[in-house]
Symmetry: C2
Subunit: 412 residues, 2 copies
């Protein structure tokens, strides 16, 4: 299981601040739905298996039609667990209204073998519905009682009504679970179970972390949230520096969770928020690291790495003429190298005066994935409580949607 | 060709500042090599074609072994021009010391049909050399006079000496061209020409933009650099919001260029720099936009979009029961939708008080790609000149490399 180590100063944090955050989250539990998903979704896994697994067994591809909270979490889990779940069905994603991407993904589809999972919390997402219409038209889909389309949406949404109208199988996103907190709801559970991932263990890991948190065994989380919020003015940028390519989509999921939840006007109308950046090591040592080390001291950095890799690839004991200077890693595994790079970079970042913490995964397995999802969700909620904002809405993006509709209003 | 429109206030900028930046760049031309690459690399294209094209024609895959400045630019051009160059050979990338990625890329290789291009400016990059050794060992490569390995490095590097020792074909990165400014040198030219991309037109576009800049026809670039630098304290974060998935790698290339060039200690030892963030629209409207609109006003945003797409995918005139609210885009192209989303988001970001500029590509073609590469390189140089730093070094990352070697010193 992941372990957490903070190198920033916490002794100046007001203990009352930590209590305040904890109590706020405890209070939220009666209204905010994501806290209880690890429990309630266990039944959902069973339901998906009993109701859908046999009728979808001949599909070899799952096409997720969704964007933002309706795709990022699925992609994150898919990517992290893919190499240890080689038998899992291929999942492809229709997200962006980019015609080049839509055309490309369509070219990868064998229609008869593809199950379409259409996901939108509100039921009105313009990208998702437009792409869905395109797919219906392109593949001449007959929707009536089709077992090739599954819908995931809010119970009361127009998309749910649409699904019922056609007799499509559908699942509910609880109305008190926001899109970016929904990965452990039907949003993630349905496509990932159907693809063949072991979602139960992901949920179990999430539940375990949440239980520990409620039992005050993960106080580092509250300390980190309090540290970030109390330093928001001087360190407005929070970097997650993950040492494995398989964390790329997880990083994007964290960016959405952190950015969209915390970038808000507070009760006094003041603009608050923290800017997330996701980096991948060692690649971004060759890109962004210089700015962290010598640029303005306006960032915190969380290093994340995997102690044990499943792939024990070795750097051979091969000394090449003129290249002997690189022989110092000969005979080591690539996993040892990348972890040493993480450690060396962390030390040099620390020495440059940046606030650092370190998350060590012992390995990438389902339980760790679930724990880390719950960790970041709780961290976000705690930071939001301390910023005194509504962590769960996104009022700032509505205006642009109105402007967009205005552009096309001549048609109505 | 791309057009540029700034919505930020430039009338308070000191005209002397713009002159200072222009003169600094003009002065640099005698020592900094990237300015003249569009000219000198035209001959290189011809050289690559005459010396290598016939002996490599039966390879169907090019494996680039390189990281940072030795891969990001190639990936950016590859991605942007791929859909309009469908006959181009597949390029795969060995970058990270991540064992899962290395194993995965190896599984995609048909060895006999793969040309390996090993790229390192210094010749000592630990990831690149370790992966190269792994590939030699795994595929039992016979290096002597091999036509399956091409090396690109500094003339004086150990990697160049290694190549000569084995009689390998090699190309030079001019010593006065830094890695992150090297995409138009042999670094980008060799693999992209061999893959079948029209690199000449990329170079021609870059040359055209540079000529215009030197002839004072692109003053907006100096204005933007001056605006960013003079607002670095209040807006330390510069966002590039690109409305097409095909800009994803270009965004990463910009992040390296901007972050690593400008994050420095200046002559007075002060930490300066600007933090780059790359976003993709419309996807990140569902992720990061809320923070821009309602979070702290510490960001600038550059919107980038493509006026004409090659894929004229249409949203069908299909009205689905209960989903009629989304019919307002029926009969429009996805390209119209994504551009309207860009425009609507830009308006709402502008209205929220954020400094915005807009880059419109009429289409994605070779010339535009070259122009935009040169635009961002010149913009970076101008900002660096105004920050009074050395734009072209990266002293901050050396310490971590020393620590890394220390970890393995028991072996030496």
């Amino acid at each position: 299981m992941p372990s957490f180590k903070g190198y920033f100063e916490t002794k100046n944090l007001d203990p009352f601040t930590l209590e305040k955050a904890y109590e706020a989250l405890k209070f939220e539990r009666s209204t905010i739905g994501y806290y209880d998903l690890p429990d309630s979704s266990i039944d959902l896994c069973a339901d998906v298996k009993s109701s859908l697994l046999s009728s979808t067994v001949f599909f070899n591809t799952i096409a997720v039609v969704g964007i933002g909270g309706s795709s990022l979490g699925i992609k994150a889990i898919d990517r992290m667990l893919r190499s240890s779940t080689p038998h899992a069905k291929k999942i492809i994603y229709f997200e962006n209204s980019d015609p080049i991407s839509i055309a490309y993904e369509c070219s990868r589809i064998e229609f008869a073998k593809t199950l379409f999972v259409v996901i939108s919390k509100s039921g009105g997402t313009v990208e998702t519905l437009s792409i869905f219409k395109y797919l219906i038209s392109r593949f001449e889909m007959d929707l009536k009682d089709s077992n090739q389309v599954v819908v995931i949406s809010d119970e009361a949404s127009v998309l749910s009504q649409f699904a019922d109208n056609y007799g499509l199988k559908r699942f509910i996103i609880p109305s008190n679970v926001g899109g970016r907190f929904s990965v452990l709801s039907a949003v993630g559970v349905v496509p990932l179970v159907l693809a063949g991932f072991n979602v139960e263990d992901v949920l179990e890991g999430a539940k375990q972390f949440a239980d520990n948190f409620w039992n005050r065994k993960e106080e580092h989380l509250l300390q980190k949230a309090a540290f970030y919020v109390s330093n928001a003015k001087t360190s407005p940028v929070n970097v997650l520096f993950s040492y494995s390519d398989t964390f790329e989509e997880f990083g994007k999921w964290v960016v959405q969770l952190w950015g969209e939840s915390l970038g808000k006007r507070n009760a006094r109308g003041e603009r608050v928020g923290l800017t997330p950046i996701s980096l991948i090591g060692s690649v971004d040592q060759h890109s962004f690291l210089q700015l962290i080390i010598e640029g303005p001291l306006n960032k915190t950095v969380t290093f994340m790495h995997i102690e044990h890799s499943r792939d024990e690839l070795m750097i051979p004991n091969l000394s090449l003429p003129f290249l002997e200077k690189s022989d110092f890693v000969n005979g080591e595994s690539f996993n040892t190298l990348i972890n040493a790079q993480c450690q060396a970079t962390m030390e040099s970042v620390l020495q440059s005066g940046v606030s650092v913490d370190d998350i060590t995964w012992s390995c990438i397995d389902e339980s760790s994935v679930g724990q880390m999802i719950m960790y970041y969700e709780l961290l976000t909620s705690a930071a939001g409580a301390l910023l005194e904002i509504n962590t769960y809405d996104q009022p700032g993006v509505e205006h642009g949607k109105k402007i967009l509709e205005g552009f096309f209003s001549h048609k109505q």
